[in-house]
Amino acid sequence: MATVRIPTPLRKLTNGLEEVAATGATIGDILTDLEKHYPGLKERLCDDKGQVRRFVNIFANDEDIRFLQNLETPVADKDEISIVPAIAGGV
């Protein structure tokens, strides 16, 4: 089981839980598994084509999945996955 950290805007769907467990061999599988237990969660994170939305950042063990293999990024047991909305800043 991997651990998934849920950001505040999505906690309505996880009964307020900050962290949930999910199974899957890739990030894509994990999102599908999350959807099974917390209906509505995947459509918040992915667009109609199934791609991760523009303003969503997903990290696998602290690494942005866009630097890995996006939704194909492999997930091992006990991995920690974070979902983080984009944040303004700088200059």
């Binding site: 950001p7 505040t8 944040i87 303004a88």
Partner: protein, 411 residues
Amino acid sequence: MSYVTGLACRECGSAYEKAALHVCEHCFGPLEVKYDYDRIRGELTREVIARRATSMWRYAELLPLDGPPTVGRQVGWTPLVRAERLAKKLGLAELWLKNDGVCFPSLSFKDRVVAVALSKAKELGFDTVACASTGNLANSVAANAAQAGLRAFIFIPHDLEASKVTATLVYGPRLVAIRGTYDDVNRLCSEIGGKYGWGFANINLRPFYAEGSKSYLYEIVEQLGWRAPAHIVAPMAGGSLITKIRKGLLELDKLGLITGGASTHIHGAQAAGCAPIVTAVREGRDVIRPVKQPKTIAKSLAIGNPADGYYATRAIGESGGYAAAPEDPEIVSAMRLLAETEGIFTETAGGVTLGATLRLLDEGKIGRDEPIVISLTGQGLKTTDPLELAPPPVIGARLADFDSLMAIAKE
């Protein structure tokens, strides 16, 4: 007195009430403040504005507070300088510098966004404010929170310029340095924000905070005699400022306040060592490929994963602007060129903006005979390290010592 009708998602349009919210719960898109422009149109005229105090609040109807500002009441109205010597050197007809390096109180344009964010934080009842920062925001939140009597937690990357750390610590906030890049700091802060319930300037207060940037543009237009320049060049980190420059311009135009319309080309500048938005613009894409390890002396622009990058590329594209990313040596040369021709010491971000302007002139993206405004957003004293200037000669206190120095200089 508020003209704000609520918040709306920039992506899917879902409407929200005024609250400390920043992300659409349907699609994660950023939330933006909506105004009742029909009411503002009748009330905010050039004459009304001209009678008000010289601060960013002379445009209060276009800023998202419910009452009068309680933090940063004197922020804004920085000089717009006609740069004749620099213009002559570059062969330009009309060049202006909007210098927020002397913004009160913390010497960067961040005082504008923080004045809005902390005033809003007080309206919403927060007693603790916080931010993730590349330096200038840290300085500004620390200074303004001290003046407002708010508790402040500030998070920065561990490798910031020493002067930016000092110019934060002096105000007595809780300052925490994070081992990692700004993007790592941001990620942590988004989790802290969710857990501790503070008013984070650039997270849950972001829709309000970001609106403060518009005052930079309003001032430029008013200071030019209610005229929009042909070109504005702005630095980009997260991409918010340039997006709000475009929004501010369209707002003034919609309110009929600009003579001759708002056909300004808005150009973006980043350092070559961290240029995800410039790269997207120059490759004609609106998908931003994040930069994993930013590497540049322009640390205030070193954001590898710019939250508003997509909107920044759109603002540039729709305005007919372009983008450029000078290398670090060009940034330093530009800082020195500005100082030597105009007597303005700007920070590295200003060197990036001027450096990018030089490139855009060479590429023909900016016409030399058209009015140009270059955005200077911070103070040079905060980023002295990269300059590496030769130390002055040391001589004895006798006239003969000086005479021999002059003799050497003559040879």
